[in-house]
């Protein structure tokens, strides 16, 4: 069975090794081409005019002077991107986010765009566009937006998930409830109940490469788009739908991607570039500035969360609940829903209930950010877990182990778990030397757990065998951080050939069937599965060719370590035929040899991690420094361990930045005050210690090699791990992220008072 996804234990030869990545040389020589690194003959430069207001009615846009400026080839407003969404609400939201219609909904919302012969001309043209705004009341805080009388962000949004259906619009776009059992009875049965409230501020994915694309559309309705994206097939579908183009006539090529972390799963300005190109009938290059990236693309939600946990003195949790309020920016999302689903996923609970409120505010449309929504929920729950453990005098690791979910546990969000890694990561924490390491002066230690679902989805893969027996692996999932190396290892493993004989390419949308984007930690899981199936189909063909060559039945042929072998004594005179032999003879045995796979990769194994953190706090200034950090996570199977470790370390670093420093700061005017890397400070090299990693491998039963996604979970535990470490040293429970020096200082002073 070529397409059997079930895990089968095996000895690996290629998988698990650490060869150099195939795109390494291009990336250390400056040759690799990212979103802004390509040019077309006759290309124009585009710039976008953005709203300076958090909320304003757009009464009039006068583009006439800009259009008359010499060198300007196209100016567009929403009129040039008409609504062809046919009642598809999500698509209309995307359209409105790309280019404001009658109202600007946040500081940085695009209202018009120009394409000109050079940047200087485009900049002059932007200044000539006159927009008449009527400024409207705005709201940027999630709790304020839920209060009666708050300015309504989207009059077309009525709360979903409640009955009866509301009669008036609301900033609460969606209410989501999860859980099982009877929490009220559970709290009554508890010896101790702890209730706490938390806030987390908005953070940005902070990819170093700003959004960039090169669009080219002709009046014949054919077009091309070169773009930095996590999912070029998805971008194609969305852009084609928004521009009224045929999907097949828009070819999208994914450039090398300079980081995404979820922020490049949504289209932002690509439809603008396409619309400008269509109007000017010239190629158009559009690059965002860092200011634009911060003001108008995918930050994560700011949140406000209440947690309640009841426990017996023996350490058994009797009930747990949470109310999670997440802001979605100006457009409805599923972020509070994901928070409500993930909050208690680490635990085996009889009685659990979570409610998520997705709330609209006048901020940019929230996008996925690495295990989206889980870090904030985990911050609230894992901080409270430590408080509860302290109240009953139990070690926080033992308390977690006692209540940890395991195989057969009904998860707080519904499904029953198969084999999972939360127990093993906690057992590894207990055993880890980090837990016994001596703490220095002013240092504290904390740990916390994290969960992410992982995802599979639509995947299409080709595997073609060259005349010299080398293999071209063609995948449609964007490589965000080493996937081509991992997928090449998988193809080599399955075919029984050396890694160096495989070349993995990312196909453009014209060269392969639809692929869902690289999100949900799915790249190696789903394209890995699809690669295995494609290789197995190629092997079937190779065996058939060998059978034809030998003139024996194909059932007598097996594939072993890169060779077709004739089974049984009667064929012992037949020498094995290698992949190279069969490829060289393919012209005379039926032509090209290839394998193909088109699947929905189901069964992405859930992922768990436990992190340990040591932090030092300056007693005078409350300045903090992470001095030791350890990530322990279940990978299912680490295909290329270097890049698994890299995911663990990178996620932890982002979580550390989120925990301690990063935040969007809005003024009373609703404008973002820190849209740059100077004032929105992500961790730099001198801020961090080495980040130790321990990879656990609890095979995912739904993947032939046992793979689980590894990309996201590592950002989930750091907020709480750091909060718990701060509590250990200061005796103060931090409830507001980022836990910046002023907030720590304030909390210590309040406790002393």
């Amino acid at each position: 069975m070529a397409d059997d996804p079930k895990f089968k234990n095996r000895k690996f030869k290629a998988v698990g090794t650490r060869p150099p990545r195939p795109d390494g040389l291009d990336k250390v020589t400056g040759r690799a081409k990212y979103g802004a690194d390509t040019f077309a003959p006759g290309q124009l430069v585009a710039l976008v005019l953005r709203s300076p207001h958090a909320h304003a009615q757009i009464k009039r846009i006068d583009t006439s002077k800009a259009e008359k400026l010499k060198g300007v080839k196209a100016v567009i407003t929403s009129k040039d991107l008409p609504d062809v969404t046919n009642g598809d609400r999500d698509l209309y939201d995307t359209l409105e986010n790309c280019l404001a219609r009658d109202r600007a909904l946040y500081d940085g919302h695009a209202v018009a765009a120009v394409a000109a012969i050079d940047e200087l001309t485009a900049r002059k043209a932007l200044k000539l566009i006159r927009v008449t705004y009527k400024v409207l009341p705005h709201v940027t805080d999630v709790d304020a937006a839920m209060k009666p009388g708050a300015p309504i962000v989207q009059p077309r949004v009525y709360t979903r998930g409640v009955s009866p259906k509301p009669k008036s619009p609301s900033n609460v776009a969606k209410v989501s409830e999860f859980g099982h059992g009877d929490v009220e009875a559970g709290f009554k049965a508890a010896d101790v109940v702890v209730e706490k409230s938390y806030k987390t501020e908005q953070t940005h994915q902070g990819y170093i490469e700003p959004h960039a694309c090169l669009a080219s559309v002709g009046p014949d309705g054919h077009g091309e788009l070169w773009v930095t994206t996590q999912g070029h097939f998805v971008y194609r579908n969305t852009c084609a739908a928004l521009l009224g183009m045929d999907v097949a006539k828009l070819k999208v090529t994914a450039s090398e991607i300079g980081g995404g972390f979820g922020g490049k799963t949504h289209v932002w300005m690509e439809p603008i570039a396409l619309a400008l190109s269509r109007k000017a009938n010239r190629p158009v290059k559009l690059e965002m500035t860092r200011d634009e990236v911060f003001r108008s693309t995918g930050p994560t939600s700011s949140t406000s969360i209440d947690v309640k946990i009841g426990v017996k003195k023996n350490g058994t949790i009797t009930a747990a609940s949470a109310e999670l309020r997440y802001q979605d920016g100006a457009f409805p999302g599923i972020w509070a829903m994901l928070g409500a689903m993930t909050a208690y996923a680490c635990y085996d609970l009889k009685n659990v209930k979570t409610i998520g409120y997705d709330v609209l505010v006048n901020r940019p449309k929230v996008a996925a950010y690495r295990a989206p929504s889980a870090p904030m929920a985990a911050f609230a729950v894992e901080s409270t877990i430590n408080e509860v453990a302290a109240k009953i005098g139990m070690d926080p690791v033992d308390f977690r182990i006692k209540n940890a979910a395991k195989e057969g546990t009904k998860s707080s969000y519904g499904p029953t778990y198969g084999p999972i890694g939360i127990g093993p990561t906690l057992a590894a924490v207990k055993k880890h030397p980090h837990m016994r390491g001596k703490l220095g002066k002013n240092q504290g230690r904390g740990m916390a757990c994290g969960f992410w679902f992982n995802f599979g989805g639509e995947t299409c893969t080709d595997l073609n065998i060259g005349v010299d027996g080398t293999v071209t692996l063609t995948v449609g999932t964007v490589d965000v951080g080493g996937a081509r190396a991992s997928l090449s290892l998988i193809a080599a493993e399955e075919l029984g050939i050396p890694y160096e004989r495989v070349k993995c390419n990312i196909a453009d949308t014209g060269s392969l069937g639809h692929n869902h984007m690289t999100d949900g930690s799915r790249g190696t899981f789903s394209s890995g599965m699809s690669t295995i199936f494609a290789a197995r189909h190629a092997i079937e063909e190779l065996c058939q060719r060998a059978a034809n060559t030998w003139e024996i039945p194909v059932k007598d042929v097996v594939w072993h370590e890169g060779n077709a072998i004739a089974k049984g004594k009667k064929h012992k005179q037949l020498q094995p035929l290698s992949l190279g032999d069969l490829a060289a003879g393919s012209e005379n045995t039926g032509g090209p040899i290839a394998g193909h796979s088109q699947i929905v990769a189901d069964g992405a194994g859930v992922s768990f991690a436990s992190h340990i953190c040591d932090i030092e706090v300056d007693p005078e200034t409350s300045a903090t420094k992470v001095v030791r950090y350890t990530v322990i996570q279940d990978a299912g199977k680490a295909i290329h361990p270097d890049y698994v470790e890299g995911q663990f370390q990178g996620g932890a670093a982002q979580g550390i930045g989120w925990a301690l420093n990063e935040e969007y700061i809005y003024g009373d005017d609703g404008r973002l005050q820190n849209p740059g890397f100077l004032d929105y400070r992500i961790p730099v090299c001198s801020d961090l210690p080495f980040i130790d990693t321990q990879i656990l491998e609890i095979p995912n039963p739904n993947h032939p090699y046992g793979i689980r996604g590894v990309g996201e979970t590592s950002i989930v535990p750091p907020l709480a791990a750091i909060g718990n470490a701060l509590s250990d040293i200061t005796g103060v429970r931090m409830t507001h992220v980022p836990m910046s020096p002023p907030r720590i200082r304030k909390a210590i002073k309040e406790k002393q008072a």
Partner: protein, 159 residues
């Protein structure tokens, strides 16, 4: 249109002439006029280091240098790091130690790391971390980058 300014400079050891507007940054010139797209723009404000180049051997953010300032000076970019078909040890070690994920910051890190090793052949980990603090990486947590630079320093000292 304003008339451009003719600039004569050395880029990666090659005599180069270009015409640019006085307001254009060196980064814009490298990328848009000379096709040297290895230097990246991550912020345009000197905060991320993705555009790091050397100017007469000194590490600078090319987004904060004007193109006309290159007149009569020597510019070093990532495209000039390798010697023919042999990579600079930093380049080999970045690949070997998996010191890059997305790779957008890599050219800047290589230039900044070389600038460090050119003046300090035996840096401590802390010296490495502070020398690279002007270069942002969002993927790696810097762990493997520091290890790659450390390994390169050791390797170069043995030569």
């Amino acid at each position: 249109m304003m008339a451009g300014t003719l600039v004569s400079t050395m880029i990666n050891g090659d005599a180069t002439e270009f015409v640019c507007q006085t307001g254009e940054t060196l980064l814009e010139v490298l990328r848009n006029r000379l096709g040297l797209t290895g230097s990246k723009e991550g912020c345009g404000t000197g905060d991320c280091g993705a555009c790091s180049v050397t100017l007469d051997g000194r590490l600078v953010c090319s987004c904060l240098v004007l193109g006309v300032e290159a007149q009569g000076r020597e510019v070093g970019t990532v495209e000039g790091l390798a010697d023919g078909d042999s990579l600079h040890p930093l380049q080999s070690n970045f690949i070997k130690h998996a010191a890059l994920q997305c790779g957008i910051c890599t050219p800047g890190f290589l230039i900044a790391s070389k600038a460090l090793l050119d003046r300090n052949s035996n840096p401590t980990d802390e010296e490495i971390r502070f020398a690279l603090a002007g270069n942002l990486c969002r993927c790696t947590g810097y762990d493997k980058i520091v290890r790659a630079v450390r390994a390169t320093a050791t390797e170069l000292r043995k030569k």
